[in-house]
């Protein structure tokens, strides 16, 4: 493949210029256009959430509370969490890159339910607007975790409105997940067997499972919370005969798997980047694919590790600790396989690959510090401190956002038909890498030194590390603004992109950039394995006898493009 594909001429009409006008966008059922609607929405919320983070970091520059009032600070970190988690991180990759690429990668014309797909964006938008209204009315001060009985009986913020916003937005996730699962099952092109699917598809399949199984639980939980807050039905409030810790169980039953909703798609992106930017088949394809499924399944069994200090039985704590280690293994397997994929590759240093390198580095630290938190005796000390804050930002920001930006750059030529400026992009990736580490690494140390999270003012001895963190955040902010500028610039002024600018492998590169509305002029027939840059007859076997015969596919008939 590769070079031949470059010769596909830029199309005269494609999905972007096929129709004009606001209506053509707001009523579109084209998965690619809906992906762009989502892209615009999540970008907006990313910068809104980022603005809240600016407020947080400025306040924490000094030990005293001086930049804002305590009450405002509590609202800042709450809104930062809610906006980033529910309106950016969860939809970021699946609803933008996933929406755009799932049909393209499996050789389909669209998702199985195009109208449902559009509906999901509207549902998301309604939920998001309600939340924005709640923010304008003064926000909410419960923390994104909404712990009872604070959220039901004590908070004077707009808990209900935000709750309804989150509740509604959840349905957009369910619709997206449903659409992906049905599409992947029923609409693969002829010859596109399960084990020929790109790993991006496997990780989105696993994500969709969590969307469908997990999201209803948060919906129910929010509903129960509303019921108690409005009608004083005793569910969580001990005064009314309820159990406040029950809320934590229900909340984390969704919200821990939600962490995997955020990171699995990024892992899918990284698999694509590592394979394509080193032009190699993924080492241990099946292990990486099943690792996604394993993470999704185990992810549902570990919620109790958020409750090690919440009066949960110590024996329950031990079970949840063991299971949490179980979920760490597939993540480690992925990391090792990505590394091994580089072996004897042809490794490019393009921007997407820089983000992939960054992702792996951050993911090692984020993942390993997860082991600290699953370690019962250590968690007692670091629970609810900045150690936890640092850990999940290494996964969410260092993992998900690196994957998202890497993917956005990698598929940008396909999405827009234009190239982004490579020099600027590499520079921005470097700025993000430096800024990120400076922001979040000191927080590990702060946490172990004992600084609790969600503190508006803090003892003097924590100041130096907090100043470093704030300095890092300002660098990180610049690192995020630069791509925002040049990507918008490139939509108009970037050089035209060929169909396959990277010499990458995959069905999405076998159609024009940008693709036509129907994706492929005719339904593709797949006769190759995933990432088969060169036929498998040429496969080199490492480690000799250890390889099972079944792992080396039979060389099939090669009717190559």
């Amino acid at each position: 493949m590769g070079t031949e594909a470059l010769e596909i001429a830029p199309p005269r009409t494609h999905y972007i210029n096929v129709a004009y006008g606001v209506k053509s966008w707001l009523l579109t059922v084209d998965h690619k256009r809906i992906a762009l609607l989502y892209l615009a929405s999540v970008t907006l919320f990313f910068f809104l959430g980022g603005a809240f983070a600016v407020g947080i970091r400025l306040e924490l520059l000094t030990p005293q509370g001086d930049f804002v009032q305590a009450e405002s600070y509590n609202r800042l970190f709450t809104m930062h969490g809610i906006v980033m988690v529910f309106f950016f991180l969860i939809p970021a990759i699946p609803a933008t890159l996933g929406n755009f690429l799932v049909p393209l990668m499996i050789g389909a014309k669209d998702l199985a339910f195009p109208k449902l797909n559009l509906l999901s964006w509207y549902v998301y938008t309604i939920g998001a607007l309600l939340t924005v209204v709640a923010i304008i009315m003064g926000g909410v001060d419960t923390g994104w975790t909404f712990y009872t009985p604070f959220s039901t009986n004590y908070s004077n913020g707009n808990v209900l409105l935000v709750g309804i916003g989150v509740f509604i937005t959840g349905f957009s996730s369910i619709l997206t997940g449903l659409n992906f699962i049905v599409t992947i099952h029923t609409m693969r092109a002829p010859g596109m067997t399960w084990f020929r699917l790109p790993l991006f598809i496997w990780s989105h399949y696993a994500t969709s499972m969590i969307f469908i199984l997990g999201t209803p639980v948060i919906a129910i939980t929010v509903l129960l919370l509303a019921l108690e807050r409005i009608a004083h039905v005793g569910i969580f409030d001990p005064q009314l005969g309820g159990d406040p810790v029950l809320f934590q169980h229900l909340f984390w039953f969704y919200s821990h798997p939600a962490v995997y909703i955020m990171v699995l798609p990024a892992m899918g992106v990284i698999s694509e980047l590592v394979a394509n930017m080193s032009r190699k088949n993924i080492f241990g394809y099946k292990f990486v694919a099943f690792a996604s499924i394993a993470i999704a399944v185990f992810g549902f069994l570990v919620w109790g590790h958020h409750l090690f200090v919440s009066t949960q039985s110590i024996y329950a704590g031990m079970i949840f600790s063991i299971l949490s280690y179980a979920v760490a293994i597939p993540s480690a397997v992925k990391t090792f396989n990505w590394t091994a994929t580089l072996y004897r590759g042809s490794i490019s240093y393009n921007t997407p690959m820089l983000y992939a390198f960054g992702f792996i580095g951050f993911f090692i630290i984020g993942g390993m510090t997860g082991l600290f938190l699953a370690a019962l005796g250590v968690d007692v000390h670091v629970h609810d401190t900045y150690f936890v804050v640092a850990h999940f930002h290494y996964i969410m920001v260092g993992g998900t956002i690196m994957g998202y930006l890497g993917g956005l750059h990698y598929w940008w030529p396909k999405i827009t038909g234009r190239m982004y400026p490579e020099g600027w992009a590499r520079f921005a990736a470097l700025v993000v890498f430096v800024g990120f580490n400076l922001t979040f690494f000191p927080q590990f140390l702060l946490g172990y030194m004992g600084m609790p999270r969600r503190y508006y003012a803090y003892p003097d001895e924590f100041q130096v590390l907090n100043v470093m963190s704030t300095a890092g955040a300002s660098i990180l902010g610049v690192g995020y603004l630069i791509p925002m500028i040049y990507l918008i610039w490139s939509m108009r002024y970037g050089p035209h992109a060929p169909a396959n600018p990277w010499g990458a492998f995959g069905l999405e590169w076998m159609t024009s950039s940008p693709p036509p509305t129907e994706n492929f002029p005719e339904t593709p027939v797949v006769t190759w394995e995933a990432y088969e840059f060169r036929p498998y007859e040429e496969t080199e076997v490492v480690g000799g006898s250890g390889v099972e015969e079944a792992d080396i596919p039979e060389p099939g008939p090669r009717t190559r493009h």
């Binding site: 712990y147 810790v245 110590i314 600790s321 590394t339 082991l371 969600r454 003892p459 498998y536």
Partner: protein, 342 residues
Amino acid sequence: MQVEIPFAPEQASTVSGEVDALYAFLWALTIFFGVLISLTIIYFAIKYRRRSESEVPRPVAGSMKLEIAWTVIPFLIAMGIFVWAASIYYKLYRVPNNATEIFVVGKQWMWKFQHIDGQREINELHVPIGRKVKLTMTTEDVIHSMFIPAFRVKMDVVPGRYSHVWFEATKPGRYHIFCAEYCGTSHSGMIGTVVVMEPADYQAWLAGGTAEGSLASQGEKVFQDRACHTCHFTGRAPNLVGLFGKSEVLADGSSIRVDEAYVRESILDPSRKVVSGYPSPSQMPSYRGISEEELIQLIAYLRSLTQQPASASGSAMPPQPAGGAGTGSSGTTTRNGNSSTR
């Protein structure tokens, strides 16, 4: 194993060094794997860098041996960490029988402490070195979390139930108390100080004393003021002498151990678990509205009613901290799903 490390709070309890040792080991592991993988990636990235745009390398088949190796080895390491960490956790939360008890009531946004001898403190807690101290904690409002970084202990304080944590201080000094569970506007102001003292200084501090008498005698006063004795010492209600720590048979035939949780529940919601032989629903009115501190005083009083006869007669009912090892259960929490007061 005890280890001292940088970027850590002072080690001021018997477990601090042990927690730090595991923490240090985990960082060593993180650095080892981080460096190993990073160096491998850098080495590959340089050695196999793309040398021409049209270059397409040969595919490499996977290796079952490698896959098994990097599944099994991390798993074994993880299980090792689990056992190490769980043993520390068990020690942190399994309250020893001979610990001195101090009662804690959290409220937005302060910590209130009550000592057995009657001293009361707010946001300051005096303890001696070399003595095991058990905190029995509850809250008047939302969930708080007792966090003493220098001792490496933390335990949530949940409305409607008593939770426990213990420590043994080893180094005199003043250390932070933080509330670690977000609890509203002045969450970051819900802080205090543990004052760890030499035993002699501590005795002097205790002697500074209180006019109110011991916690149990404060409880006795509440008991009198609320006229509890008019029923409980006249046969109309269960006799409370020697009751605490014993098992009672309920009307439905089940039995229950008389511990803090049950006493608390019976004061707030008397009809919920009525002792067999007494009218059900109970004739006792609910004392909802009584403060958490008074509840604790009453519990201390009831407990003293058990301890005195036991020590006098040398009977088989030794005083024991409720919710401790005696039940054979976790001992970290005694639960009362019913009620609390604000």
